[in-house]
């Protein structure tokens, strides 16, 4: 597997500009001859499909939801970063670049991240022009707020629903292209395989989720914007339908999978209440602007929060990290919460929780101000827990939220399979080992609006339009394999539902490959996962048939892929013998419990190559070089 990152040489701050000039163009009359498939309709997919449609390409866009507007980007709450420096507080492209590289614990490419910081400003312009109702100052200017991992205010937001508003902007741009006939939309359609002919990606196999029909689609290029794999843990903040199937299938067809062990545990989620729990709900990181995190000072103190006097409280983030306080990055905040709960100082019925307290903010600024900033989040908290966070502190605990790992891509966002591009959370590119808050929306839209429209043209210019056809036997073969797998799931008629296997897998991963990992625990998981997978294929019970709407079959197919992918995740975590960002190996920590990187041996991207069923995957590496930032132990003290 060749890992050619295609990074433009020369000075960092002009690299993207020079690279854009060097990219080949497709003339307007020729664009309409090219067919492009976009899988996924979240921020990355919808913005890409809309922008490529505007350019004149023929686009087909697929999503499993009933409408492209429902992709899970819609649930992002807090905001989107940009280096506008509207606040005059010292921000710049260089600082956003530096914060993102440092926040990612020096495990991302400098050139990608610098480009992201440059593009960030165009995204805000684009979204404001589309009518995204960003929060405004009284003078009519765009408002900002602070977010974790930064000491400047650079986050743009639309109440606690920024993801929703940005996605609706992209969805509306996409809808305009659908009406214009430039994009054909395929809702309720799931991609189940990638078709590769002569080493190039040239189509996909899909299942129509209403009729059950398995179909093939050919194109000159395929874009995956299918999100992350957080649901491998069963409980996460992802939507129920989020899955690894599209990227995993592409991996099995030859696309390298990069850094699967880089998963993000978000510190502020509503704690688990019982075994029936189907998902976890995030409380936006923006709450840490005004909320103070604390637990009782004494272990086993079970008094209600109102009865614990100030002197017997431990505001542990403010104590351990005086300069960033409650706004330390997510990985640091999550681990600190786990540490105090491990000391039996956790709160709530399960003891796995900490307080997020707004009483200071309410007495300082008044309830009305807090309500205006976070009202919808407070309401949501109360609906789920039946507790009023204006009166009693919220209880929160970390939960799986985002995955920095994903399919490996070069600077042009192309995977190791020519013609297969990967955008947004589905790729591995910009966040290193930990993503900063309000950076996912930035990356998804950067990829879709401002990177892929340039880079895909350069690829297409070097290929003959319309050369792929579903008549090619590879399409028939892939389709037959998809059908055979579905039939195998349906034929088993065992005793256990796919969901029960998923829940068991999730528990196993959370315990052994969650917030703190050890070689021993990972080895245990690696021994158990193949057994569980074998049991799944022996005992799974999937009701209904293939040629009909069958939600149980959809779930079972996704769980089957998670059971394969989980092994790669643990393998990657075992072989990365260092702690960095969201990947914390207990063996590698500083005396005061912080992550200890090993730059001499692990300043690289780990890229996995699939070698066939039953064969060990091969670990390749892409070295990371840092010429513009100084590699340092990350400190937020």
């Amino acid at each position: 597997m060749e890992l050619k990152a295609n990074l433009p040489p020369g000075p960092l701050h002009t690299a993207w500009e020079r690279h854009r000039f060097d990219l080949k163009l497709v003339n307007p009359a020729n664009k309409r001859r090219y067919q492009i498939i976009v899988v996924g309709s979240g921020l990355a997919g919808a913005s890409a499909a809309a922008s490529l449609g505007e350019l004149g390409y023929n686009v087909r866009c697929f999503c499993y939801q009933d409408s492209p507007r429902r992709a899970h980007s819609i649930a992002a709450q807090g905001g989107i970063n940009a280096a506008k420096n509207y606040q005059n507080d010292g921000d710049s492209v260089q600082r956003l670049f530096y914060d993102t590289i440092k926040g990612g614990d020096f495990r991302a490419r400098e050139r990608n991240v610098y480009r992201l910081a440059q593009i960030s400003n165009h995204i805000i312009d684009q979204c404001a022009a589309q009518g995204v109702p960003f929060a405004r100052e009284y003078g009519g200017q765009l408002a900002n707020r602070s977010f974790g991992g930064a000491q400047v205010s650079r986050t743009f937001y639309a109440r606690g629903q920024t993801g929703q508003q940005l996605l609706l902007g992209a969805y509306q741009a996409l809808s305009r292209q659908i009406a214009a006939g430039q994009v054909k939309m395929f809702p309720r359609t799931e991609m189940l395989d990638l078709v590769v002919v002569d080493g190039r990606a040239c189509g996909i196999v899909t299942r129509d989720l209403v009729s059950g029909a398995i179909e093939t689609h050919a194109a000159d290029a395929v874009i995956l914007a299918t999100g992350g794999y957080g649901n491998v843990f069963y409980l996460s903040t992802n939507a129920k339908g989020c899955n690894v199937t599209a990227t995993w299938r592409a991996h099995k067809r030859g696309a390298g999978f990069a850094n699967p062990c880089f998963t993000q545990i978000h510190p502020t989620c509503i704690p688990v209440t019982g075994d029936h729990q189907s998902k976890l709900t995030l409380m936006s990181e923006s709450l840490r602007n005004d909320g103070r995190v604390w637990v009782p000072l004494r272990a086993g103190d079970r008094r209600p929060p109102g009865q614990i006097p100030e002197a017997e409280r431990d505001y542990y983030l403010e104590r351990r990290y005086p300069s960033f306080g409650n706004l330390v990055p997510r990985d640091v905040a999550s681990r600190a919460s786990k540490a105090v709960c491990d000391e039996n100082r956790g709160v709530g019925p399960s003891g796995r929780g900490v307080f997020l307290d707004f009483s200071d903010a309410i007495s300082r600024q008044g309830e009305a101000v807090v309500r205006e900033r976070y009202g919808n989040l407070f309401d949501m908290y109360e609906r789920i827990t039946a507790e009023n966070p204006y009166k009693v502190p919220m209880r929160i605990y970390p939960a799986v939220h985002y995955t920095m790992g994903g399919l490996w891509v070069d600077y042009n966002l192309m995977s190791t399979i020519p013609g297969l591009f990967v955008l947004g959370e589905a790729n591995f590119s910009d966040h290193g080992a930990n993503r900063l808050g309000a950076s996912a929306l930035m990356q998804g839209l950067a990829d879709g609006y401002f990177v892929i429209p340039y880079t895909i043209g350069s690829y297409l210019a070097g290929s003959r339009a319309g050369s792929a056809s579903t008549d090619n036997p590879q399409f028939g073969a892939a389709k037959a394999q998809v059908r055979e797998r579905s039939n195998r799931l349906l034929a088993r008629k065992g005793k256990r539902t796919a969901t029960s296997f998923h829940r068991e897998l999730g528990k196993l991963l959370w315990e052994n490959c969650g917030m703190a990992r050890t070689a021993e625990g990972l080895k245990q998981a690696l021994a158990r996962i193949p057994e569980l997978r074998e049991q799944f294929w022996r005992e799974v019970l999937v009701p209904g048939g293939q040629e009909e709407l069958n939600q149980s079959l959809e779930t079972a197919g996704r769980v089957g892929d998670f059971l394969e992918f989980a092994e790669l995740l643990c393998r990657d975590a075992l072989l990365r013998e260092e702690s960095c960002g969201g990947h914390f190996r207990e063996e590698y920590q500083t005396p005061d419990g912080e992550a200890r990187r090993d730059d001499a041996h692990f300043a690289h991207v780990a890229v996995w190559e699939h070698r066939g069923e039953g064969q060990e995957p091969v670990r390749h590496t892409e070295p990371l070089s840092f010429e513009n930032v100084h590699l340092a132990q990350r400190s937020y003290k």
Binding site: D66, R70, A128, G131, R136, Y171, H276, P543
Partner: protein, 257 residues
């Protein structure tokens, strides 16, 4: 708690539907409504019966996928709450719960509680956007937006497109949905160039999809999980009148030169 569910079952769009009685035992009050249905579905599956089909995804009240009629009310008894955020503590032990799909001519049933709401997507495609090709935008602060306008636009833009408004309306009207989008974009300076053509196109699309007219029952706003205000229907009507007097059809304003 133990509950009795009366659930609408329908094999596919063409099949005849019926109510099925299902006992839901040992339900925790901490479960969400959809988690209760998950538990029921797991039990149905293991018992060799067909699980209940329903739309859902984010389960945090924002994607707009979920939505069923619970005891006659879209999204159930708690105001301002989607089905996925409704918790079982709002029901009492032994209660009979009637669960039906959103019903409207423009929302045909696909299976059980799942309906086809693609009519909403077509209404948006007709004009529910601001034409702003990628790359053509001026600086974000070049066009000032008053805080009042931005806040009011956000109130309208909070719509999640779930369709409860249509399901609650005796006329199955989509006026609240369309009014919210027309208002969101029409309140902002960026939305002014297409303001009149947008309202024309979206109302025409709404009519073509088979949604009914508005006769001011305001059931829509009563069930809206995002509390979108019925004032936006008034605004839609005013814009439509404005469009009739102020806007020439698109072709007449195009410079053919």
């Amino acid at each position: 708690m133990n509950l009795v569910l009366m659930v609408w079952r329908q094999e596919n769009a063409r099949a005849q539907g019926h109510m099925q009685r299902i006992e839901a035992k040992d339900i925790s009050p901490d479960m969400s409504f959809l988690e209760m249905l998950d538990v029921v579905n797991e039990r149905l599956t293991v018992a060799g019966q067909s699980p209940i089909t329903f739309d859902h995804d984010c389960r945090e009240g924002i994607c707009g996928s979920c939505g069923v009629v619970i005891n006659g009310v879209p999204h159930g008894p708690q105001p301002g709450t989607t089905t996925c955020q409704l918790h079982m503590r709002h029901f009492r032990d032994g209660q009979v719960i009637v669960i039906e799909p959103f019903r409207a001519r423009a929302f045909p049933v696909i299976r059980d509680l799942m309906v086809d709401r693609s009519a909403f997507d077509r209404a948006i495609a007709a004009g529910g956007f601001i034409t702003s090709p990628t790359g053509s935008a001026p600086d974000g602060n070049a066009i000032l937006v008053s805080k009042g306008a931005a806040d009011a636009a956000m109130d309208a833009a909070a719509c999640i497109g779930c369709g409860a408004c249509v399901a609650a309306c005796p006329n199955a009207s989509a006026m609240l949905f369309v009014g919210a989008k027309v208002s969101h974009l029409g309140l902002l300076p960026q939305g002014q160039p297409e303001r009149w053509s947008r309202v024309h196109a979206m109302v025409a699309a709404m009519d073509a999809e088979g949604f009914g007219g508005c006769t001011n029952f305001l059931e829509c706003a009563a069930v809206c999980p995002k509390n979108v205000s019925p004032d936006f229907i008034g605004r839609l009507n005013r814009d439509l009148i404005g469009a009739v007097f102020l806007a020439r059809p698109r072709a007449a304003t195009t410079d053919a030169g």
